[in-house]
Structure formats: structure tokens, C-alpha cells
Amino acid sequence: MKDHRKIIYGVVTALLVMSPLFLNKYWVDVLNNVGLYAILGLSLNIIVGHAGLFNLGHAAFYAVGAYTAAILNTRFNIPVLWLLPLCALSAGLFAAIVMRPIIHLRGDYLCIVTIGLGEIVRIALINDVFGITGGANGIFGIDRPTIFGIAIRRPHEFYYLIWGFVAVAVFLFHRLENSRFGRALNYLREDEVAAEGSGINVAHYKLACFVIGAAWAGMVGVIFASKMTIISPESFSFWESVLIFTLILLGGSASIPGVILGALLIVGLPEVFRGIANARMLIFGGAMIAMMIFRTEGILPPRPRKYALSDDSSGESRA
């Protein structure tokens, strides 16, 4: 069973690496979007999947990253890729500041406040806060990224940048999940009182997962801004947050392969069925309802962590 999975992951990875070779511009661009949503999904997965905190305002952090990149790039001509760490920092800092006072809210209450947060950010951008966000028109003329002097312009070039970034995200998030940090998030999701009673600083971890999730969303914002070269508030609507949230629920919350599959299905499938575009939301809604009834844990739920238990007698008897 374990090998079975490894083979599937290998095949999927190989397919992803080679797909630009036989896909046209349009489909490569679709996959680019899938990649961006996959990273957004992974970043929200830390909050929603692992810590079990409902966040329907993730687009706010995404927007902070994208706008930081756009402003610094257009005003000071700083190359966009250099802005990655800076935008991660700005989105993370933003999350730390706005989430600190409300982090103790539970379940639906937190959810409602995050919806409000997303809307506040979007409306603030439309209203041209501090005169630097360009109002409803947004900011245009953002540079394309360059790596070692090579400008990345075509979808095929972006493909490797974005999916390389997905690979790094998967690698790091996998490590994060299987650590004291990842476990702490799971404990507080399961039972906050017991987690605190086991010596875990619950408030700290709740805030920390928001900061990390926001930082990654901020970095996706940078790539998005440089890919589009123009960003406006409408790219960071409530609908974006909902999309990221649902792709986690559909794919399997707290599961990395699940989130990537979710991104493929939610962002990729509608493109496949362009022909029946009018019925798209209907089918989408129906699929979500069916899933909530028949497979509540998502299509690819997480598998239990593996621990290297020493092979003593009791371990062997369980083989």
C-alpha cells in the first residue's frame, strides 16, 4: 500500500515536470494557476487543516504580499524575486498584528471576523489607503521576475518557477507537519483545554500558524503580481478566500496531496468543462454536497504520521 502511493506520487511528479512539453500556452497557464492555488492552499492548510481554525479571509494576506511587492517594485525598482522574503515578512507581520487581539475567538466567531478582515483589506485597497494602492484600478507595470538575468515571461517559463515553488512548499510543509510544531497544532485542534493542560502554549501556536500561513500567502502574492504585471483589489475578493478554503475541504484537510488534488479539481476542472460553463457552479455545488455526505474527510485524507518505534518484542508482535 505504501509503495503503491509512492508510485502514484512519482508518476504525478513526472507528469507535472513534463507537461509543458506537450501542452499549449493556454493549458500551461491553467496549470500555473493551479500551482498558485496549491501553494495558497498549503499555506491555509496549516491554519484550517492542522490547527482547525476557520479562516475565510486568507485573501487578505495574499493581497498584502502582492501589494507590498507591487508598490516596492514600481516605486523603487527592486527586482520582484528579491521581494519574496520581504513580502513574506510584511504579510506575516500584518497577520501577527491583526490576529493578535482576536486569536482567542473560537470556531464560527473567528471565521466571521476573518471574513470581515478580508473585506476590510479589499475595501481599504479600493479606497487607495495611504495613496499608494492605486484605488480600484490597482497597480500596473510590475516587472516580470528574472532569474540569473533571464526574464521570465512566457507561461512555460512561469510554469517551472511556480511549480518549483510548489515543490519547495511541499518539502517544507511536510517537515513542518511532522514536527513538534505540527503536532502542537493538531493537539489544539483536537482539544484546546487538554493541549494547554499538556503544557502547550495554545495562544502562541494559534498565532504562529496564522503568521506562517500568511507569510506563504504573501509570497504567492509576489509571484501572482509579477505574473499578471497588474493587480487590483478584485483579485483578492471574498470569493478567493472561499475558493482556497473549499479546495482544502474537497481535497482533504491537513493532507498535502489532498490540497494539491483539491487545487487541480477546483481550479483546473472548470477549465476542462468550459463547454458547460453555465452549469459550472451547479455541478460544483452538487459535488460539494455529495462530498459532505459521503466523504466528509475529503478525497485524500491525511495519513497517520509514522514514527520510528524501536523494534522490541511488543513491536514485532504487531507485524
Binding site: E190, A195, G197, S198
Partner: protein, 254 residues
């Protein structure tokens, strides 16, 4: 020499006086029992000690240090661990992971070290795993390490809570009705286990309704009724105290 000292502890919930001016001391290395009829305020006292509630009045000192204004997780890392009356395990996680939760406060690696997987972080994970397995062996749950916590029997879930509390490295272990839901054999084993824990140099404070357990294992007993302390002493003294008999059986009205 007392490890934990409680002075004039008072807690109100609205008009209800849940804990009323309670004082007692828990000596280092002793096994103390806290008993009383339902609603006497025993669990509230535990929740006050572990920082889940804040007392309205009174002082709690652990090892000479006041812990009244500390958060629960800081109190745990000072060396007080507890189990819960209504079992509070991480139901959907494995038995091993439940115990690893207790190791948390003795570890340092944060998110950055986890992402970089530094030698320090790996060493720490390995040590924690060893400690967790040891604790599972100690309570006899080693064969169930990979089961989900919710699949354990009631008695074993109580043992798992004890294992999780033990790996935090406490000097004082607080057990809230550890024998609740256990059969006679399991209770006898539990008594052996509690004595073994004490022999490791830990102090134990427990709430229990099973009087046979309390009388057999506790060296001193504090009795609460309607939030107030009505008696204190050895099992013999408490048993013959008319106030205790009255609290449990009621008075002869005629």
C-alpha cells in the same frame, strides 16, 4: 516540607461559592487525597491549581513560588501535571502522539528548526520519542502505541492520560478521578501504578470517589463539602470524623 501550599483559596461562580476559604498543604513525596460529595468543589480546586480558573482570593504556592497568575502551560512547565475527570485525550491521534503532547514543554524546536530539520531538532525528536515509549511501557500501553486514542478502553484511556501527564516531567501529579470507569482489577493495578509513581520521587494529589482506593493509597486526606474544608488527616481520622460522616450520609433529622 510542603511542595504545594494552598492558603484561603476562594472561588465564586456568580452567587455560588464553589471553593470557600480552603487551605491545605501537600508534603513533598506524599500521596494526598481530596474527597467530598458531588459538587463539593474538588475539581474546582484542581482547576484553580492548574490555572484554568483564577481564584477570587487566596494564594497557591508551588515549591515556594506563587503560581496564581500564571497561565496553564507555564504551570505545567514548572512541574505540575494533571489528568482530567472527563477524559480529554486527543481522540483522533495515535496513543503515541498523545504522549508526545506531554513531551512538548520539555522541547525547544520551533517552526524554523522543523523546516530546516537541524541536528538539534532531530536529536530532540528522537529523545522525545524514547521518553514517550518509556512512559507507555510504564503504564502498560506500549503494545497500543499506534492505535487511535479513541479506540482504547475506558480504563486504558485513563492510563494514557496518566502517561501523557508523566512525560511532562512533573514533581506534582494531580489525578482527577483516575479510577473512574475502571473495574476492580484495573483499580488494583492503578493503586500499584500510583505507588510506583510516588516511588520515583513524585508527589501525588488525587480526587477519587472510589473510597477503597482512597483509603488504601492516600497517606493524608482532605475532605471538602459545599466548597469548604471540613476535615483533614489520615484515613482513620477522616473516617471517624462525625462531620465527614454527616456530609456523606446526612444527619439523623429526628
Amino acid at each position: 516540607m510542603s511542595l504545594l501550599s494552598i492558603k484561603n483559596l476562594t472561588k465564586r461562580f456568580g452567587g455560588v461559592l464553589a471553593v470557600n476559604d480552603v487551605s491545605f498543604e501537600v508534603g513533598t513525596g506524599s500521596i494526598m487525597g481530596l474527597i467530598g460529595p458531588n459538587g463539593a468543589g474538588k475539581t474546582t480546586v484542581f482547576n484553580l491549581i492548574t490555572g484554568i480558573y483564577r481564584p477570587d482570593q487566596g494564594e497557591i504556592t508551588f515549591d515556594g513560588k506563587s503560581i496564581v497568575n500564571l497561565l496553564t502551560h507555564s504551570i505545567i512547565s514548572l512541574g505540575i501535571a494533571r489528568t482530567f475527570q472527563t477524559i480529554r485525550l486527543f481522540q483522533n491521534l495515535s496513543v503515541l502522539e498523545n504522549v508526545l503532547a506531554g513531551c512538548h514543554s520539555r522541547m525547544k524546536s520551533g517552526s524554523l528548526r522543523a523546516m530546516l530539520r537541524t541536528p538539534f531538532q532531530r536529536g530532540e525528536e528522537k529523545a522525545a520519542l524514547e521518553r514517550a515509549v518509556q512512559a507507555l511501557e510504564f503504564v502498560g500501553l506500549r503494545p497500543d502505541a499506534e492505535q487511535l486514542a479513541k479506540n482504547l478502553s475506558y480504563g486504558n484511556q485513563r492510563l494514557l492520560e496518566i502517561a501523557r501527564a508523566l512525560v511532562t516531567g512533573p514533581r506534582l501529579l494531580i489525578l482527577d478521578e483516575p479510577a473512574g470507569g475502571m473495574n476492580e482489577q484495573e483499580t488494583t493495578d492503578l493503586i500499584t501504578l500510583i505507588r510506583k509513581i510516588r516511588d520515583q520521587g513524585k508527589t501525588i494529589l488525587l480526587i477519587e470517589h472510589d473510597m477503597s482506593l482512597v483509603m488504601r493509597v492516600c497517606e493524608s486526606i482532605v475532605v471538602l463539602d459545599y466548597g469548604a474544608k471540613i476535615s483533614e488527616g489520615t484515613a482513620e481520622t477522616v473516617k471517624s470524623d462525625p462531620l465527614v460522616v454527616e456530609a456523606y450520609l446526612g444527619t439523623d433529622e429526628e
